[in-house]
Symmetry: C2
């Protein structure tokens, strides 16, 4: 069974019906574009993803990268994929024309990225990280630094990494230990070890530009003393010429459960004389710079998770359509023919859950991308600020919700296939293994929960929170009297009201200085807020489908089925998933301290 | 970090405090035993498990069995483990003394098996299946058949398998196609293909005895036409002498995500002249016989799942105790030392959830084993019947609850370790991969849900159901006024009342002939009933701990901590987990038809 990479109908719906992406053409930055150039971009992505990424998704898993002490070897198809991606201009596509880019909107490029993720999430890691590293340079580095590195990161000659994590620090960035010693020439020498650095070494590009967080000697403790450095594998001269090998060495590869074709590395900086490195922007502002990009990376991780969830859904759907087994419970005649398993209510439940999770997650990621776009190019200052505020608030949920629930989708995809789902002769077990990474990297669920409840919600006296809530209630009231949508609308309002109560209680506790108990169940808060947010995303998708179905005579049978499916998946989410929040709402509201009070010795 | 295999304190608590296993010594069958012989058995199991099973758990995963077209090769340590298991007498331990056994109770042997499962669930598969196959012969075969096979399956010369599943039938046993042609000498010849047969071929034993479900030519359609056969790899003469190679051939190995050191095979019966096979018991009663054993196998699967969950809990616990990272949210001083992550509320939550899931699952499995014991050896006929009735009712939950929630525990173990959890350099990712099999084999969750709601609950006008409910309410009322237990007691009563309402609604629907809609959400019913059942299991564990703590002066500090931990984990389950059922109760009560109504074309 050959699975297509994503589904064009779904992407088309999300971009042009759910989000009004065509409207971006009104903005000056996109005057030279058209729906045709947008779609041509997506079509190119789809073709390259199918030809150069999907072809080695399984092979990169079974023949993972190796390191012989000297050289890292990655299967050759990876290099071909990298080259195809670079040659099509995707490494630079979001830059302005005059910077060698295609001046394409964020949301179109994220949709394009979805094709690569769906085809091969591990190989997609290399361009994904390179784009992120280049963005950091483009945003915060000096003109000379930009000139030295950017053209070659855009062309695909150099790759990039983000080197944050250290062996003894993990999520606690405040405790980064890598040292930067200032040199007479204004450069620095780095000493320290970074761990879990994706793409930290490879044999795809002639050079690798590491964006490294380190602490300049004498800098203040904690997050206020962290600076950002460019640290290339090979020093770079004029016109991209490679100089000496820098003192950054691969200590070893880590061997992941999934996501295997992305190398995961331990890098030693300064085993000898120190790794040459160049400060980006101002000293001690490194974490601030990194966070700008981390939000992009968080959407990126979530998009990868969503695509894995979606592919598992599509695969198990096709399997269920073609696999006869059993009969309806009401049919006791063993001589009657078996039905395909898609006819069984429980299989439909597992498929509907996958659809609700993965399409909800995909829609959430593209909505976040549209907010990112709006925060930069919306017409008015107010619109730009509003988009930024909502994006800033929801980023923890955008990161974590798809990571958690698209993994659940993959768990169900395996279950639909039964024994076949558990063996490597079928692709869904790899999706499940690949996807298990996503709740960990770019901020674990626990970190996202603390970020949401401890920082993003209270910010500006709950201004951003109120803004989002008002938008959700606006949608709900809009459809309160529509026969198809009123049930969902009412249930969403109830959920929002409950969320508001819980939030008030928690804010009151935090205001009274009950910081540790107020934040003790922050991960549950992340979950209930995420579910409410996605219920809104679903109601909006349902509203579009409902509108389309009102002009049913203009639709093909296939379109009618597609929209009916959207309605049913939305109903599923609102009936089966949204009510799950209430038990956790009660726990949160009561400031339950069962976990906080548990003692180490009692385990 | 070297992880012990299970935890003797936990097993001791479950056997002698939670279950009154010592009381079995009163029964005539165990008069020659003592608590010392019970414990010596457990200690032997622990030692063999640590020495011969734990040693190759990781190796059997990374160097999985291979097949060169002629021979299956399994890493040599597996054979040593098999031999040690057999030599210690565990293959025969539950048989009477005069049958060469040790006449040990079921619950002690299950606890012993837990050590092997915890050490290496995949290698444990071989003895586990052999015991099951031998039990089938012992229970239903003729004396001549017993004599031919049993001594060698007890000694470890022969292994056994259970060959049910076929490529095009999966869960639908009614549609088994393997044919049995009667021969003049009273034997049969088998023709057909079996798939996912664990241990279907190996290089551990000189012979393999397959217990095969097949359909005698002309038998009725469906489950009423299935017979059980003994089909050895090599024909067996007198005194275990091997004869000709039988016509059952390994078509190939399947390559699983986990559980890798257990071969998973496709077997062809009758590629040539037909595989010699011997009918067990009466024709067309095969499924009835198999189901007797399947219930044992279901507890076995659940026990394996529970042990994997428990090992992940123990590993992540030790990791969390020794891993410094971050500070409490209320501490803003970056120069203060980091705390170990076990101090973080969210990490405690993840550990408590693992403790609640895995210890709850383990307790449930051993309780089920004690019911199995009681159903055979309890003093009065009534007690035996009562035990059988409750066991029969709860078996679907005993199989499915640990399989689902111990996997969730492993998911959390990975999350506690963060990046380390995701790499093969640490053991928890293998546990997660191994455990993913358990919701699939020996009846998927969907199958268990239908079995529970469609057969086990309504049976005898809900007699068994009412019996269990009255037992649960008895426990609750017993502790309704205890200051430590009253909250849990009240919440359990509320849950039971709600379960009763939901059950009544569903039974009424089924009685009205609404079979398909009544059973549409059977998997959710399985889940809410399972959670209620485990809440009872937890309240009973809490009650024991509470009682012990009343005589605190007689306890060591370690014991006090252990019992406080039991209380807290029970509270966690009742506060964080049990309330999750209510949303699904509402769905079930409303006979929600969202899934049933979903159409294939709409996906």
């Amino acid at each position: 069974m050959n699975l297509p990479v994503l589904n064009e109908q779904e992407i088309e719906f999300l971009l042009y019906d759910f989000l009004d992406t065509e409207n971006l053409l009104q903005r000056p930055r996109y005057h030279e574009h058209s729906k045709e150039t947008f779609n041509a971009t997506l079509e190119t992505a789809r073709q390259i993803a199918e030809k150069y990424f999907a072809n080695h998704n399984a092979k990169g898993d079974s023949q993972e990268p190796t390191f012989d002490g000297e050289t890292v070897t990655i299967i050759a198809e990876t290099k071909q994929a990298w080259d195809a991606f670079a040659e099509a201009g995707f490494l630079a596509a979001h830059y302005e024309f005059e910077k060698g880019g295609m001046q394409l909107p964020e949301v179109i490029l994220r949709a394009a990225m979805a094709y690569f993720n769906a085809a091969n999430v591990a190989t997609s890691g290399y361009p994904f990280l390179t784009i992120g590293a280049a963005n950091l340079i483009n945003e915060f580095a000096s003109d000379a630094q930009k000139e030295t590195y950017l053209p070659y990161m855009q062309s695909g000659q150099f790759a990039g990494t983000m080197a944050l994590t250290e062996p003894n620090q993990g999520s606690a960035l405040a405790d980064i230990k890598t040292k930067a010693l200032p040199q007479a020439d204004g450069s620095y020498r780095l000493f320290g070890t970074k761990m879990y650095i994706s793409g930290g070494d490879q044999n795809l590009t002639e050079n690798i530009i590491h964006m490294v967080l380190a602490r300049i000697e004498g800098a203040p403790a904690g997050t206020k003393g962290i600076s950002l450095f460019i640290c290339p594998k090979y020093l770079v001269g004029e016109n991209g010429q490679l100089g000496a090998r820098n003192d950054v060495k691969l200590a070893g590869l880590l061997h992941k459960m999934g996501y295997r074709n992305t190398t995961s590395t331990v890098l030693n900086f300064g085993e000898e004389q120190g790794a040459h490195a160049f400060l980006v922007g101002e000293a001690n502002k490194g974490l601030f710079y990194m966070f700008q990009m981390m939000n992009e990376a968080r959407i990126g991780v979530a998009l990868g998770a969503s695509c894995l969830g979606y592919q598992g859904f599509q695969y198990s759907l096709e399997y269920a359509k073609g696999r006869p087994q059993g009969r309806h419970p009401s049919n006791k005649d063993p001589e009657s023919p078996q039905v395909n398993i898609i006819k069984h209510a429980d299989v439909k439940r597992m498929l509907l859950a996958q659809k609700a999770y993965s399409e909800g997650a995909l829609a959430l990621c593209l909505y976040a991308s549209s907010l990112m776009e709006d925060s930069k190019t919306a017409e008015s200052d107010e619109q730009r600020q509003q988009a930024f505020k909502i994006l800033d608030l929801i980023t923890p949920m955008v990161k974590s919700w798809p990571s958690k629930y698209a993994l659940r989708a993959n768990e169900l995809a395996i279950q639909v296939l039964g024994g076949s789902g558990y063996i490597r002769e079928y692709p869904v077990e790899q999706m499940y293994r690949d996807n298990r990474l996503n709740p960990i990297h770019e901020g674990t669920e626990g970190i996202q929960g603390l970020d949401l409840l401890g920082r993003k919600v209270p910010m500006g006296n709950l201004e951003n929170y109120q803004l989002l809530i008002s938008k959700i209630l606006e949608t709900s009231s809009q459809f309160a009297n529509d026969s198809e949508l009123s049930d969902g609308s009412t249930k969403l309002v109830n959920a929002v009201n409950r969320l508001n109560q819980v939030t008030s209680h928690l804010m009151a506790a935090l205001a009274k200085g009950k910081v540790d108990s107020g934040l003790a169940n922050a991960t549950l808060y992340l979950d209930i807020f995420g579910h409410t947010l996605v219920a809104w995303i679903w109601l909006r998708q349902m509203a579009v489908a409902n509108e389309k179905l009102k002009a049913r005579e203009a639709l093909s049978a296939d379109q009618i089925h597609y929209y009916l499916g959207k309605l049913q998946a939305g109903k599923f989410f609102i009936r089966y998933e949204l009510p799950q929040i209430y038990a956790n709402c009660d726990l949160l509201e009561s400031l339950d301290s069962t976990c906080l009070e548990m003692q180490e010795d009692w385990f």
